[in-house]
Symmetry: C2
Subunit: 258 residues, 2 copies
């Protein structure tokens, strides 16, 4: 039996530590090909490059692994991998990450890491985004290896429901080992923005977007709860954004065609 | 009673025709404030600007209307409107558009227009993205005015379910008037990418992302059907991406904590 083909991408860029680790782990599970952004793309959401050109070049960053860097977003990387690099071969798995920072809760909609995974799911390829909930510059990724492999193995073995990608987050390394893996829902929360206004050397204003996380959810079945309690969280996410429950409500309440 | 406060943004940028029209229509419904990108931001998905600064400046593009242009994405525009420009006042309605081009079906996940509306919904403000399914350079927007106003009025009167924004698309102008408004679900479809590879004057390759729309959905309750049949489509969209139906399946099939 031929080895599964695994496409690896991320949003922290081709030289990120988390990407290197993910490649190392995937090498044992299949044939790995890498197409990653040539620089950081955090917060890019599901952006794609239209109205502008894309660069793509082969790299030798990873010994024994075919890898490319792309000037575009994470979603572009998956698209160009499928549409050009792989010349018609379809990956058996798309993995993205391991992101240096959390993508739990509402952060999923801003996440470049998850956009690569969702792009894979749109192409009907089982796809996973991995993120470590630790923003420290020297964050330790060593404790997540076992769960990365376990989850990738489960997805290779069982596939995923159609239209679903996985948003996997790991707690920061603690003295105790991670307690286990929880299948969760997305936590209700938002970012409370604060804009740090400054004046540049030419006297013009500019802003840094900062913010704090506002937790609005007391449940114990969500990803923030899992991370806070030292579990790995797995949220199945859909790219069908339809709020089905709202269709009947709108039809009932609205006077649209009168 | 004070007039409702209406925040207007878009992704085609501050000088786009569709933005001007939307401002004109909203002026009759409330007090309008505009914060829009200083240039085109199409395909930006739900990108936000982190790791880089934002510019914001007041403009006099629209007579009698307070307006700002921002160097960021549509989501940034809504964030900076709320976090800085409005100084704590909360809009009663966020409207985005009118986009020059379709945001039906899977395009919703790539859409800067919808990211502004979704950002409003995250802030618990009733929010609508409007798009015209016509890519012609001289696209005629005149036939959509009545429905823009009608839908905005319904949202101001009834609000929207929590966590829901509206993705509204209009058919291109035809001889016959638009038949009516349909509440729809998101069509199952994807883009089949094709990468147009070219060589620059320095001998290096570059790519244009192009593609064709692959319709995978025979239903008559979806937004593509509505547009094809000369209806305005309204899809309620959620920013809770959890695929709830998949949680039980994953718990059942997977051997995660053994």
């Amino acid at each position: 039996m031929s080895k599964p083909l695994i496409l690896v991408s991320n949003d922290d860029g081709i030289i990120a530590h988390g990407l290197k680790l993910l490649i190392e782990l995937m090498k044992d599970l299949g044939e790995v090909i890498v197409v990653a952004p040539d620089g950081p793309q955090s917060g890019m959401g599901h952006a794609i490059t239209i109205g502008n050109t894309l660069r793509l070049s082969k790299t030798d960053h990873f010994e024994g692994i075919t890898s490319y860097q792309c000037s575009g977003t994470p979603a572009d990387c998956v698209k160009i991998a499928k549409g050009y690099v792989l010349k018609g071969r379809k990956p058996d798995l798309v993995v993205s990450g391991i992101n240096h920072g959390s993508n739990t809760s509402i952060s999923v909609i801003y996440s470049g890491t998850m956009s690569a995974a969702i792009e894979g799911a749109v192409e009907e390829i089982p796809s996973i985004g991995f993120s470590l909930c630790d923003y420290a510059a020297d964050a330790d990724f060593s404790h997540v290896k076992e769960h990365v492999v376990k989850i990738a193995e489960q997805v290779l073995a069982h596939g995923l429901p159609k239209g679903v990608a996985l948003n996997v987050n790991f707690p920061p390394k603690q003295k105790a080992a991670i307690k286990g893996i929880k299948i969760c829902r997305q936590t209700r929360a938002k970012w409370q923005e604060e804009f740090d206004r400054r004046i540049d050397p030419n006297g013009r204003q500019y802003f840094w977007l900062t913010g704090s996380f506002i937790h609005q959810d007391n449940g114990e079945d969500n990803d923030e709860w899992a991370i806070a309690n030292n579990y790995t969280s797995v949220v199945p996410v859909s790219f069908d954004l339809t709020a089905y429950h709202a269709i009947a409500a709108l039809n009932k309440d609205w006077d649209l065609n009168g």
